[in-house]
């Protein structure tokens, strides 16, 4: 396996220079070109046909997301690693959808970076630890599978007490909340389940075996 030819895109001149200095003496890697925005990156890709691209996300003129999408479409064999300061899942997701094979933060160590480059060039995917954690912990906005699952622990507890016929005030005393908060919980439950009143709530609790 010969030398891996790399293109770097970043709108920070100093960063590109630093990157080139860092990779200069690494055997098996060669930086063949650079670009300060997404559009230039695409042009440079046409010229150099590298095996691998290291790109930032936010850049002027055209950002890394769009450039990645374009490069991935035209040259699916070119691997793209995102090298950025941002680990917000919104950007991670967008970059993955656009076709990136790796996502690492700019604080990465030299050895780790070289390892990731080789790994991705060999066809594997790589996401740094922080990035993976951020993705995994991301909660879905869509409601959970069953309607009962959309309720919180507290709401299930209160629903059971409503179904047992307790008043708001009685529930409040039992769960150490104020009646106002209990009423808010009840409203939330009704809203989540799309129900209208206590009778329907009671029926739901019974049907879903929530009467503990």
């Amino acid at each position: 396996m010969g030398t891996i030819r790399i293109l770097i895109a970043d709108d920070h001149r100093v960063f590109i220079d630093g990157m080139k200095a860092l990779l200069k003496d690494v055997p098996g890697l060669e930086v063949v070109g650079e670009a300060e925005n997404g559009q230039k990156l695409i042009e440079q890709v046409e010229v150099h046909r590298p095996q691998l691209v290291l790109t930032d996300v936010q850049m002027p003129v055209m950002d890394g997301i769009e450039a990645t999408r374009e490069i991935h479409k035209r040259y699916p064999e070119i691997k793209i690693i995102v090298l950025t300061m941002m680990n917000e899942s919104m950007f991670i997701k967008k970059m993955l959808e656009a076709g990136a094979s790796g996502y690492i933060l700019k604080t990465v160590d030299k050895d780790e970076l070289i390892r990731v480059i080789h790994k991705v060039a060999a066809g594997e995917k790589h996401f740094s630890e922080e990035v993976t954690a951020q993705l995994l912990n991301n909660f879905s906005e869509k409601s959970a599978p069953g309607p009962a699952d959309s309720l919180t622990k507290r709401e299930k507890e209160i629903l059971a007490l409503i179904a047992q016929g307790l008043t708001d005030k009685e529930i409040a005393e039992k769960v150490f909340l104020s009646a106002l908060t209990v009423i808010s919980h009840r409203k939330n439950i009704l809203s989540k389940l799309g129900l209208k009143n206590k009778v329907e709530l009671t029926r739901f609790a019974i049907e879903h075996k929530l009467l503990s």
């Binding site: 630093g18 700019k106 954690a133 991301n138 808010s184």
Partner: protein
């Protein structure tokens, strides 16, 4: 630095900085009548235009800007119709001045630029110079010092070319004065001093007493800033002498104040007192509230230094009253500062504490304003210089330019970093007072503006931090890693520190303004927040969103809701010792319910005074017109619910 602080405390009076023309209003009425009579008899020719020019000016000086504007437009129309360029230039000039009087700087600038164009076209050099002077004034008001300086220098150059004529030389002296003032504002005291002195020499030669008095005063001010107190006193005294000759009473009052301030800074409190009293007496005679209030607060401050707190208190109460009446922040700040010192000397700890707080509040609001101005000015300076550099050094070698940019980049970074620290520090204190402010309905609008500005500032700082410092740090890290491996024991520790610094910047940036909030909106941003906190490992955050797709929230509302949740979560992390946080956003009919629950140690709402975090939540909730309910029991967690109309 210490002396500067003292200046602020004594309420330094910055007078006579600018030489602007001013005529007594009472003389105008008769003039207007006679001009209108002349007008009736005139045909549509250049004479009529000239009369209209004079009439517009006279009406403007009475403060009736709307009528003045009508006359100004008439002048312009007639001058255009008969093709009288000089008249047209004067018409633009008048209209520009009317806008300036109304405080509409941008429009004024446009008109004066047009005036300059016309004057250049007909090569009317005095007219061009006068336009430069006007444009310089506008730039100065806008705080754009470099451009103001450029205009004043152009005016000076033209006047120097023409050389002869009393009017020209008078204007040249003004140009020197204005140039001096810009340098003073830029803290370039040496240049300010030399320009003021050139202006002074000319004015003395011309026998212009008003002008000379102003110049002496300005030189006094510059030397005061340089801590050259003897020189300052000498010039203030010279200024005083002329002002007494020409019976310029407001000027005399100001000079007494300035002399007192110099003595105060020298620690000569008895002498300071004499002068402050003289200033007070004249201020009262003239009915000038601001002068009187400044004198009172200065007298109070001096008594504090003389260990006479009771006397100090009496005067400071008086300056405070006027400060409140005038809504004069500087006077309020100085008064509270003195009162806090006086009350603390008198053993009124409670009062002193309150006054200290209010002093801090006003000082911060002034500082905040100054910081914003400083940053804007730094930007303007930078942009102006960039323009200049580009023009002058177009052919200069690339490398030279690059090093300039690098250094100014590093300078900007340091500035930014300082600005961030200042901003964070200030905003902490500022938030303390947000609650009271909000309850006061009159200040609601202000609060709106503050909130929006704060969000914008946060965003800007976050972006700058991320873009500049963040990248710089990672670049430094890369550079360190290019060292051969035998240096590893040396580079290891810095590398670790750099990692921590980067992490810290990411956290600060995220706290200041998560990009997801800007670009993706409320729910994705809350997701991000929940995820970040959960990843940190101590507390698990659950987010439930329901029915949010039935309405769209305004951006400012989204930001406020995000900040409520953020504040609540931060509070929990800081105080609650919880293991789980549940955040819910439930949209129902025409309102949105936000609920933040934790299973931490709770508190007794009746017992505990609510901290800053809770106050902020309440304030923001009020801003959203929400009903807020904070429910907590010791040992039973806390539930915060707010229901806002949408």
């Amino acid at each position: 630095m210490i002396n500067r602080q003292a200046n602020r405390r004594t309420g330094k009076t910055f007078l006579f900085l600018l030489t602007l023309f001013c005529f007594p209003a009472f003389a105008q009425k008769a003039k207007i009548d006679s001009l209108r009579n002349v007008l009736k008899t005139q045909k549509e020719d250049t004479n009529k235009v000239n009369t209209l020019v004079l009439l517009t000016r006279a009406v403007m000086l009475t403060g009736q800007y709307d009528s003045a504007m009508i006359w100004g437009e008439q002048t312009k129309a007639l001058a255009e119709k008969i093709g009288y360029k000089k008249g047209l230039g004067n018409a633009y000039n008048n209209i520009g001045n009317i806008y300036l009087s109304k405080g509409e700087l941008d429009e004024s600038q446009k008109q004066h630029s047009k005036s300059m164009e016309v004057q250049q076209e007909i090569n009317n050099l005095p007219g061009v110079a006068s336009s430069h002077n006007n444009l310089g004034n506008i730039c100065l008001y806008k705080g754009n010092y470099p451009e103001a300086l450029d205009h004043y220098l152009s005016a000076k150059k033209i006047y120097e070319q023409i050389k002869t004529g009393k009017m020209i030389r008078t204007n040249l002296a003004s140009a020197y004065n204005n140039i001096g003032s810009v340098y003073l504002l830029q803290n370039n005291y040496a240049a300010a001093d030399s320009n003021y002195r050139s202006g002074l020499a000319l004015r003395l030669e011309l026998g212009d007493k008003h002008g000379a008095a102003a110049s002496y005063g300005n030189i006094g001010l510059v030397n005061y800033m340089l801590h050259k107190y003897d020189e300052a006193l000498k010039n203030h005294r010279a200024s005083l002498k002329i002002k007494e000759e020409i019976e310029d009473k407001p000027g005399i009052a100001a000079t007494y104040g300035n002399i007192g301030t110099v003595y105060f800074d020298q620690g000569k409190y008895a002498e300071a007192l004499v002068n402050f009293f003289a200033s007070e007496k004249l201020g009262l005679e003239l009915g000038n509230q601001e002068t009187v209030a400044n004198a009172y607060s200065n007298i109070g401050q001096t008594y504090v230094r003389l260990h006479k707190p009771a006397e100090a208190r009496a005067y400071l109460e008086k300056s405070l009253a006027i400060g409140k009446e005038l809504g004069h922040v500087q006077i309020l700040k100085n008064s509270y500062d003195g009162l806090a010192r006086a009350d603390s000397a008198l053993g009124n700890w409670q009062a002193a504490l309150e006054e200290q707080k209010l002093f801090t509040f006003y000082r911060d609001s002034i500082l905040n304003q100054e910081n914003t101005q400083k940053i804007t000015q730094a930007q303007m300076n930078y942009e102006f210089q960039k323009k200049q550099t580009a023009a002058q050094e177009a052919q200069a070698k690339k490398d030279a330019v690059r090093s300039v940019i690098t250094w100014s980049g590093i300078g900007a970074l340091v500035l930014l970093f300082l600005a961030v620290l200042l901003f964070i520090n200030r905003s902490k204190l500022k938030q303390k007072h947000r609650h009271q402010e909000e309850l006061n309905k009159k200040q609601k609008e202000q609060a709106d503006a503050v909130m929006e500005t704060q969000e914008q500032e946060r965003k800007r700082i976050a972006e700058d931090l991320h873009d500049s410092l963040g990248h710089l740090l990672s670049t430094v890290k890369m550079n360190l890693q290019t060292f051969p491996s035998e240096y590893k024991p040396l580079t290891e520790n810095p590398l670790n520190l750099l990692n921590q610094a980067s992490e810290e910047i990411r956290n600060i940036t995220f706290n200041l303004m998560p990009r997801t909030l800007e670009e993706g909106g409320l729910v994705p941003a809350l997701n991000e927040l929940a995820s970040k906190v959960t990843n940190a490992g101590r507390v698990k955050v659950l987010l439930h969103v329901h029915g949010m797709d039935r309405f769209t929230l305004e951006k400012q509302s989204q930001f406020n809701i995000y900040r409520i949740v953020q504040e609540a979560v931060n509070n929990i992390l800081k105080h609650a010792d919880a293991s789980e946080i549940t955040i819910q956003l439930i949209g129902q009919d025409d309102h949105l319910r936000i609920m933040i629950e934790d299973d931490g140690k709770g508190f007794d709402p009746g017992q505990q005074k609510s901290g800053r975090g809770l106050k902020n939540i309440v304030t923001r909730s009020l801003w959203l017109k929400g009903n807020i309910n904070i429910d907590s029991h010791p040992g039973r967690g806390t539930t915060i619910t707010t229901e806002i109309p949408v």
